[in-house]
Symmetry: C2
Subunit: 239 residues, 2 copies
Amino acid sequence: MTDLPDSSAADVALRLENAVGAQERFQIMYSVLRDRICTLVYPPGTQLGEEALAEEFGVSRSPLRKALQILEADGLLQSQQGIGTLVTDVDLDALAQVYQLRLELNELTGRLSPATVDDALLQEFDAMNRRAAVLRAHPDRHEFARLNIDFFHVFQLLSENQPLRDHSEKLFYQTCRIWLTLIPEAALEREVKVFCGEIEEITTAVNSDDLEAAALIRRAHLSMGFKRLRKHRKVDAIA
Amino acid sequence: MTDLPDSSAADVALRLENAVGAQERFQIMYSVLRDRICTLVYPPGTQLGEEALAEEFGVSRSPLRKALQILEADGLLQSQQGIGTLVTDVDLDALAQVYQLRLELNELTGRLSPATVDDALLQEFDAMNRRAAVLRAHPDRHEFARLNIDFFHVFQLLSENQPLRDHSEKLFYQTCRIWLTLIPEAALEREVKVFCGEIEEITTAVNSDDLEAAALIRRAHLSMGFKRLRKHRKVDAIA
DNA sequence: GTGATTTCATTTGTATACAACTAAACATGA
DNA sequence: TCATGTTTAGTTGTATACAAATGAAATCAC
């Protein structure tokens, strides 16, 4: 199971105190901040004050800045002297190329070093399906975003090519915010339904030990999802 | 033309003094250090002292550390408290997966947002061919490495998908050192010849405005190159 | 002599003071 | 009133002192 980083203020500071070694502390700050950005706790345009964040985490600016600098390299933040550290905007047009690349990389997931399907893996997918069922019964934006992120990580397990995983992850985190920003409340239920269907279909393919099929299904849904996003944007623009 | 970063000590400090803005200074330090690592000015295992480097560049440790941290995220360095900042080892087995991914991404270069072939682009390739001719006449390890790096950047121009460029570049810099570490002196002339042939073939394809063909040729040479590297390693191991 | 322990030099990690920079508020004069 | 220069508050960037960690050398007990 992927860690569910508890990003509430007090707990993060506690986890940072207990962490041993600089690398572990960095990893906590990095993933907590990335999580907050991608679940719109920090919406695009939010200014993140280094001093305030450092105080919240119970560290000085120096180690915090390392996390911010990597997030800037990831394209999620942008720092400028005298201005501040701002959460980057997500623009569907700018993300079109990223989506195009993600399509192709997803197909590779089924071909490059495919994982062996064992019980542990199937259980991961089962867990996703259970959460999907709960979500379908009670659609909720935040839980939708969280399931989207967690399912991505489970899907990643299908390839054992580590570089492919790493780069797919970077690209995923560049795009995943767009859903929360573009889906209107009225369309949420329908999008949840489609997403849950995708999880089911992919699980079926994985159960059949056909990872290429799983990857193709994922690719198809990514492609269709991008087209639906463009529609949502148009509707938004009119409103 | 891609910049040829002059990485000699005095000039770097001068360029850093003239640079305006933190981002520009970071870019200089980052690319100079990456260049030194990938041309084996800093061979694998070299310890880079922060204090010494900062003094050489005429800055304090703080801005230098940002460059080191990004290079660590790139997989070219590894820092540990009490030990030092070491240039990572390149191991052909560990890089096999990276090579596999590079193969696939190179094919995408011909398909995703192919560039329009204009005079400026053709001149870039011509320049590469001229340098290749010089290199073939006088084989030299260092110039071989430099041409390899510069030709990569010219090849990148064939796709206008920026994320594809960015991620291909990261992967390239993870692998390109392996050539200098594994090619024995006796095989240098032959490898240079093969590489120059590759440049010619790709240029021919680009001149025909067939970028898919160019990408396939590149892919084929990457694949063959990897196999030759494995042979070179075996010969090395015996010796 | 040998093994364990302590000390010490060296390195990166962290905290913090200050510099550089920006935008907005404010004052000033035509 | 408007344009313009100045001040000011607030931000990130940089320099630097110190803490923490590591490994090797010196020291000591036996």
